[in-house]
């Protein structure tokens, strides 16, 4: 419960009651990213109501995702799962004809032990559309890790070899592409992906593909020895599957978030390909200079991450470099190996900037965190949606952590967007300063 900071990064696992979104929420962005896909969430009314309410997307589009809502007959095994799923998938195929149907397993399919992996290949043959099975359940995963489960499942579907169609093969083998193939994984809006492609191209590195691609039919080729590099910190399972199943070589770098992270990410990739990076120093400095107006607002300010989307370490590392003090980094799940380079950079920044190391709290307890926030009075709390309004009412400025999930934050170009979000409550405070309305709860309320 104490709020002491120390000289080294401290890890603790509170194993508390914390709030984050369900991992099935990944369908909300993945169906948009993979344009020819259809996502079928196999779960209960509780899952469906979550997608419709917390994300509020279903109503606004002709979505390419739906619920296979389990009813009492399904739970009590009076109905045959196989028949039911075949029926629904046939209907989806008829209505939308997607290139792939992604089944999203939920807590319920885990508990009733529905054999999704067993059924999928048979139904796939029957309807002649690929079916990918991802178990994005809340028993094992948090929020953004849903994407991890989907990408990990898609790894298996990536083609193994360049097709032997000799003509196209020869053409693609121009002298430049002697470089070993490099595949990046993590879903980004296509503009941001192009920006990262371009940054690497400037260093003479060709990105041979992305997982996921814009279309399911364009999944990247994975061969033994293909280099792979993640762009998001929540993809540790995908990384492991890439290494174990497809014998890919993982490049462990900090993530390309913030100018410091982007630079380190490019440098690390360059080092793997034995390339001396060009003009990176200048590029990074330029970006920092362009951020100066925002940096003036955040320098010396303190921030507390309650923990939600697993981007916390990368964001904290960037904000420390911006001159902020991070008290605590809550995070639902901490893979110290996959995030090793990120953690090392965080530690280095703390030393460089001469600020105390933050404490990293895995599976935090939200109640305890709120007590700590009250004690520490940070200038900003980055928090899940459930806690934002109550904290604001108590005079603590907040920013929703989900906004960082949905905003474009990767690469040099988008560093400004991160600070745009971070400084918004601070700029709001400047506008409202002098009104004297900082606390909007009655005195006796906790």
């Amino acid at each position: 419960m104490s709020a002491v900071t120390s000289d080294t990064i401290t890890f603790e696992c509170e194993t508390g009651n914390y709030h984050t979104f369900c991992p099935i929420s990944c369908v909300a962005w993945l169906y948009q990213k993979i344009e020819d896909s259809f996502f079928l969430v196999i779960g209960t009314k509780t899952c469906g109501y979550f997608l419709q309410n917390a994300l509020g997307v279903m109503i606004f589009a002709e979505p390419r995702y739906a619920m296979a809502e389990l009813e009492e007959g399904d739970i009590s095994a009076q109905l045959n799962d196989y028949k039911e799923l075949t029926r629904l998938c046939n209907q989806i195929k008829k209505d939308r004809n997607p290139s792939v149907i992604v089944w999203i397993g939920t807590c319920t399919t885990e508990i009733i032990k529905m054999d999704l992996e067993g059924m999928a290949p048979k139904i796939e043959l029957e309807i002649n559309t690929p079916i990918v099975v991802a178990r994005a359940n809340g028993l094992d995963y948090a929020f953004t890790q849903g994407e991890d489960t989907v990408l990990a499942a898609m790894v298996e579907r990536c083609p193994a070899k360049i097709s032997l169609d000799s003509n196209s093969n020869k053409e693609s083998k121009n002298p430049e592409s002697e470089q070993a193939p490099l595949v990046l994984f993590g879903s980004l809006p296509s503009t941001v992906a192009s920006q990262l492609n371009l940054e690497l191209k400037r260093q003479g590195i060709n990105v041979s593909g992305w997982l996921p691609a814009q279309r399911y039919t364009d999944l990247p080729i994975l061969e033994k020895g293909t280099y792979v590099c993640g762009i998001n910190p929540f993809l540790s399972r995908t990384a492991t599957i890439l290494m174990r199943r497809r014998k890919c070589k993982l490049i462990g770098a900090p993530f390309p978030i913030g100018p410091d992270g982007t630079r380190a990410w490019i440098e690390k990739i360059c080092s793997v390909f034995n390339i001396q990076p060009q003009n990176l120093d200048e590029r990074e400095n330029q970006v920092w200079q362009s951020l100066e107006d925002y940096l003036q607002l955040v320098r010396g300010k303190s921030v507390f991450f309650m923990g939600d989307n697993l981007l916390e370490i990368s964001l904290a590392r960037f904000l420390i470099k911006c001159g902020m003090i991070v008290y605590e980094i809550g995070i639902p799940y901490m893979d110290k190996r996959y995030q090793a380079a990120e953690l090392a950079l965080l530690e280095k920044h703390c030393n460089d900037m001469n600020v105390p190391m933050p404490r990293i709290v895995e599976k935090p307890d939200n109640y305890n965190q709120i007590q700590r926030i009250k004690e520490l009075q940070p200038d900003l709390a980055i928090t899940g949606m459930a806690h934002a309004n109550p904290l604001e009412a108590r005079g603590i400025s907040t920013k929703w952590s989900v906004e960082f999930t949905f905003a474009q934050i990767h690469g040099f170009t988008n560093a400004r967007d991160i600070l745009e979000l971070v400084t918004r409550p601070l700029r709001r405070n400047n506008s409202l300063e002098g009104l004297g309305w900082n606390s909007l709860v009655k005195e006796n309320i906790k």
């Binding site: 009651n17 984050t20 509780t46 309410n53 739906a66 799923l85 508990i111 109640y367 109550p390």
Partner: protein, 509 residues
């Protein structure tokens, strides 16, 4: 299995949590996997709640599954008991954890031994009832629990208040304009000289539930939630209740008359509210006057579709049909469990009745009958947007827009004004309507060409141009756009007067 894109009513645990978190100083423990606790987000964001939602998820993960949930749940209950000192802790599973078929009652029994708070398990079947039914049951369960407890402790106070008094049952968090309705009902009862005994669950205290029988009667404004409680109290204490929703001028009058009857059954000196009803109807509320006004006259016979929860859809159908002369082609509700009541209520006021919780059926119906306006939920508003039919939102499921900061009740006499405004603003208005009728066209959101188009492969003949010139300036642009849109759709390059009329017909059809 059911292929579902959207649903009108949420899962059962949401109903339970809405009731629990509406009471003061009651904490709910959800026994659920990570991510099932989005109720906290909904309440905090939609209601813009300043206080932390008093709901804690006791998280079920792999470890908990392997070891059994009992210790974790019991620990979390006793922990909240110490941290928050609530009067009552309500334990609820979700659809997911209810499959585990654990003996949650046993968890509750164990936790109660070490807690100062009362602890109960919300007794709801998560696969058989929806949000609204679960809310109704949970409210009844909580009330019953405290009445029984008071009976056992011998401190049940059955002496009626000296002045006429009422309990308002069924106002709760995330309800459709519930807070505004509550204020309006309090004002109405005050006007009638009736004291408010208790309002539950919103803002109510469980320790006051034993005082419920002191009231002369119960008022249940929405039949979805509160009716079970009222029936229980009637059985137990012969407390009469009024479940006529005071929505619209006529039903508000009937509701007040029912209250009058109940009060007169208690006293020798008979009272009459006739004068009050008459004054409110004819002079205070503007709705009755609106019905007579020339504006409303123009709405006569306009076609409308109504869809929503049973309470709001039935009341709205009657208001449109009886009080405004609007032609309700179809009235429907997603409260399938209340179908009989609903059919009886709207009988004679509409051509068709639709009972379904499938939004695509509602969409298809609207597309088929093409009403001039829809009165429905956020879903129908969305359907209306796609079909270019205006929609007034009259019922849950709620949206952030249904939590206006200003005062917008749907009940009582102020509610009648709000509804009249909503109805009037939902239809295209006044003279514009006439002109549109001549040349066709609904409000188009998409601008085909801005202003009077100059470009174009489309050629207007001199006759049709003359015809266009006759149309008053403020709708001319719209008529021109609609005609050109029609021409493009039909691969016509030369716009003759015939095409103009064909376009008008097509747009009206």
């Amino acid at each position: 299995m059911k292929l579902a894109y959207w649903m009108y009513a949420g899962p059962a645990h949401i109903g339970t949590l809405r009731v629990a978190s509406s009471f003061k100083n009651v904490h709910a423990i959800m026994h659920a996997p990570l991510g099932d606790d989005y109720f906290n987000v909904m309440r905090s964001m939609l209601e813009r709640e300043r206080d932390f939602t008093p709901v804690t998820a006791s998280i079920v993960d792999r470890h908990v599954l392997a070891r059994g949930s009992q210790n974790k749940v019991v620990d979390n209950i006793t922990r909240k008991d110490k941290e928050e000192r609530p009067d009552l802790i309500v334990l609820t599973p979700t659809c997911t954890s209810s499959i585990l078929q654990e003996d949650l009652q046993n968890f509750v029994n164990r936790a109660s031994m070490n807690s100062n708070s009362d602890v109960i398990l919300a007794d709801v079947n998560h696969y058989r009832v929806n949000e609204l039914q679960a809310a109704d049951r949970t409210l009844e369960q909580v009330v019953r629990f405290y009445i029984e407890k008071a009976k056992n402790n011998n401190d049940l106070d059955l002496i009626k208040t000296t002045k006429p008094s009422a309990n308002i049952i069924g106002i709760f968090t995330l309800g459709f304009h519930n807070q505004h309705d509550c204020r309006e009902l309090k004002r109405l009862l005050q006007d009638l000289g009736i004291q408010i005994n208790e309002v539950i669950p919103e803002g109510g205290s469980v320790s006051n539930l034993k005082k419920l029988p002191k009231a002369w009667f119960n008022l249940v404004p929405y039949r979805e939630v509160g009716l079970m409680t009222a029936i229980y109290l009637e059985k137990e204490f012969k407390m009469p209740y009024v479940s006529t929703t005071p929505m619209g001028v006529v039903d508000t009058g009937s509701c007040i008359k029912e209250i009058e009857n109940i009060i007169n059954s208690y006293t020798q000196d008979k009272i009459s509210y006739d004068e009050y009803i008459d004054k409110q109807t004819r002079f205070v509320s503007q709705a009755a006057w609106f019905s007579r006004s020339i504006d409303c006259q123009n709405l006569t016979g306009k076609k409308a579709v109504v869809f929503g929860d049973a309470t709001h859809a039935a009341s709205m159908t009657r208001i449109l049909s009886k009080e405004m002369g609007i032609y309700v082609i179809c009235a429907g509700t997603y409260c399938t469990h209340d179908a009989d009541w609903f059919k009886e209520q709207v009988q004679g006021y509409c051509d068709e009745v639709l009972i379904t919780d499938n939004h695509t059926e509602v969409g298809d119906l609207i597309a088929r009958v093409e009403p001039a306006a829809i009165f429905g939920t956020q879903m129908e508003r969305h359907i209306g947007k796609r079909l270019n039919i205006p929609c007034g939102v009259i019922s849950a499921p709620v949206h952030i827009q249904n939590f206006p900061l200003g005062y917008r009740p749907f009940l009582g006499y102020e509610g009648t004004n709000q509804i009249a405004d909503l109805v009037y603003n939902s239809f295209t208005l006044g003279m514009e309507d006439h002109l549109l009728e001549i040349f066709g066209g609904h409000d188009t959101k998409e601008v085909i060409t801005k202003g009077l188009s100059t470009d174009s492969e489309l050629r207007w003949t001199s006759e049709s141009e003359n015809e266009l010139r006759k149309i008053p300036g403020f709708v001319r642009g719209k008529i021109k756009r609609n005609t050109e849109k029609f021409a493009r759709q039909n691969n016509v390059t030369e716009i003759t007067v015939e095409i103009m009329y064909a376009a008008k017909e097509a747009m009206n059809a």
